[in-house]
């Protein structure tokens, strides 16, 4: 409490300079340096320039009436608490003030200790209200997020169902085209008219099928792992293995890829799902990054979670797209190259792991995608002696 009081922003509005001086001196001993104003208008000016927690307001002042000043303060700054100082034994003024939103009133002459108590109470009330407000905003935010991810999950189920249904006719097209291709290779058909055109057309069918197949298989990828495949792995090794899979592609494009983390102890984690997630993020990062760019995968542990970040120095994502990138079929890639399903599926996998995925991006500077997933510590019976790695922490050599 004591150190919180230090941050109390107090405003005294009173036309009696002597009274203000006494109060200010007393407040400074508490480590608080109050703002001062001699009338209502001056007080409102100060309030319009900086936030104030508590106002001590004299009712009887020349110029703007204290009660009017109070109303104006509450109208413009509803979260600021106001303590009224009324004339001697004037309860009518006090009641009017309470009705207008004052925290409380004291009648003059004021006992300074008493006033200090009231100031502390008013400040406390403001802090509590503030916390409640933040809490309800937080809950609203969470509810919205959950609604959004439920909508995505329902979409995912539907999309997977459609993918299933499409795979069968797709397979027929695939085999029929393949059979035609085989027939066209036969020596008897070597001199048939338009043979070249037919071979070309059959090739186009095969390419089209391959494209559609990428989509349906990717959609199924999101729902596929039904059982969590917990494995005991070292997070740093898992990242290195995954980087090895994309390194050639990155280096072809002139992009450096690296892991940035200390050596880490083994943990229980859903390794297969995590690998798929990392690959999806890395592939996107490679697409978004220019020659000479850099992609760094970081790992951090804490609070029973592992956080994997994939940071690229690529083109970034415009603010208006930040939510949309997780929608199915949202893609800035030309048709046939991107499906727009990578992040959609990635989010589903992460959800299923009980994790979260967040994105930070700046256009022209780069993007960092961070996946936080729960993990369990390694073997509980493992050595605990000096040098034994701490769960999720780096292994000491």
């Amino acid at each position: 409490m004591a150190d919180r009081l230090n941050s109390l922003r107090l405003l005294l509005v009173d036309d009696e300079a002597a009274f203000r001086a006494v109060l200010v001196k007393r407040m400074r001993r508490q480590g608080i340096d109050p703002f001062q104003a001699a009338d209502g208008a001056g007080g409102l000016r100060i309030l319009s320039r900086q936030p104030v927690d508590v106002v001590v307001l004299d009712v009887r002042m020349p110029g703007m009436d204290g009660i009017d000043t109070l109303r104006e303060i509450k109208r413009r700054h509803p979260h600021t608490e106001v303590i009224l100082l009324t004339g001697h034994a004037n309860t009518r003024e006090g009641l009017e003030g309470i009705q207008a939103g004052a925290f409380d009133y004291l009648s003059k002459p004021v006992d300074i200790d008493h006033l200090w108590e009231k100031i502390k109470q008013a400040f406390e009330k403001k802090a509590v209200l503030e916390a409640l407000r933040q809490d309800s905003q937080y809950r609203l935010h969470m509810a919205q997020q959950m609604a959004a991810s439920e909508r995505l999950a329902a979409l995912g189920t539907l999309a997977a169902g459609v993918a299933h249904e499409i795979n069968n006719p797709l397979a027929i097209i695939n085999e029929a085209a393949g059979y035609l291709g085989t027939l066209l290779q036969k020596p008897e058909l070597e001199d048939v008219p338009y043979r070249e055109g037919m071979v070309n057309a059959v090739g186009k069918i095969a390419t089209g099928v391959a494209r559609a197949r990428t989509i349906t298989h990717q959609l199924l990828g999101g729902v596929r792992p039904d059982s969590p495949g917990l494995a005991r792995v070292r997070p740093d090794e898992l990242v290195d293995e995954t980087l090895a899979l994309v390194r050639a592609e990155a280096e072809d494009k002139g992009i450096a890829v690296a892991r940035q983390s200390p050596p880490m102890a083994a943990v229980w984690i859903e390794a297969d799902r995590l690998r798929q997630v990392l690959i999806n993020l890395l592939v996107n990062a490679i697409h978004a990054t220019q020659r000479g760019g850099r992609i760094v995968v970081g790992i951090e542990a804490g609070d029973g979670r592992l956080r994997f970040s994939v940071a690229d120095s690529g083109k970034g994502i415009p603010g208006e797209n930040l939510e949309r990138i997780f929608e199915p079929f949202f893609s800035d890639q030309p048709p046939g190259e991107g499906t727009g399903l990578g992040l959609f599926v990635t989010r589903q996998i992460v959800d299923r792991m009980g994790g979260t995925i967040t994105v930070r991006s700046q256009v022209g500077r780069g993007t960092t995608m961070t996946v936080a997933v729960p993990h369990r510590c390694g073997d509980p019976g493992a050595a605990r002696g000096p040098g034994a790695p701490v769960c999720g922490q780096e292994a000491r050599p």
Binding site: H164, E165, I166, N167, N168, L170, A171, I172, I173, N174, E175, A176, G178, Y179, T182, L183, V209, R213, H217, L220, V223, R224, P225, D226, S227
Partner: protein, 126 residues
């Protein structure tokens, strides 16, 4: 092809698929039989020599997993490859646990499928 043809039984309720894939496999010189249900598959197995069954998982009536179970009971030496449009790792894993040789998601790459058959041929020859 100098190697002995593999005797394949292709089982799927998708008739067009069965027709096209069997033609393709036959072009490669394999010996292909077809069935359109689990029951028909078992019936053929009871009278014909078959090396490998290529089996769809989702079929009306007796599904692929049940068919697989019965194949493995009655004809333990017949190999089974699962090939389906309705893929979940769980069914794939269940299939492999029940003795299936491999699992492909439709539309499958023909090269992958024939590579698998090639390996089968080599182990059969050995």
């Amino acid at each position: 092809m100098s190697a002995l043809p593999i005797r394949i039984l292709l089982v799927d309720d998708e008739r067009d698929f069965v027709e096209m894939l069997s033609l393709r496999l036959a072009e490669r010189g394999e010996h292909v039989m077809t069935a359109f249900s689990g029951r028909e598959c078992l019936e053929i197995l009871s009278r014909e020599a078959v090396d490998v069954v290529i089996l769809d998982i989702r079929m009306p009536g007796m599904d692929g997993i049940e068919t697989l179970r019965r194949i493995k009971q009655a004809h333990p030496r017949v190999e089974v490859i699962l090939l389906t449009g309705h893929g979940t790792t769980q069914t794939a894993m269940e299939g492999v646990r029940l003795g299936a040789l491999d699992y492909f998601l439709k539309p499958a790459d023909f090269e992958d499928l024939t590579a698998r058959l090639e390996r089968l041929r080599r182990t059969a020859d050995a």
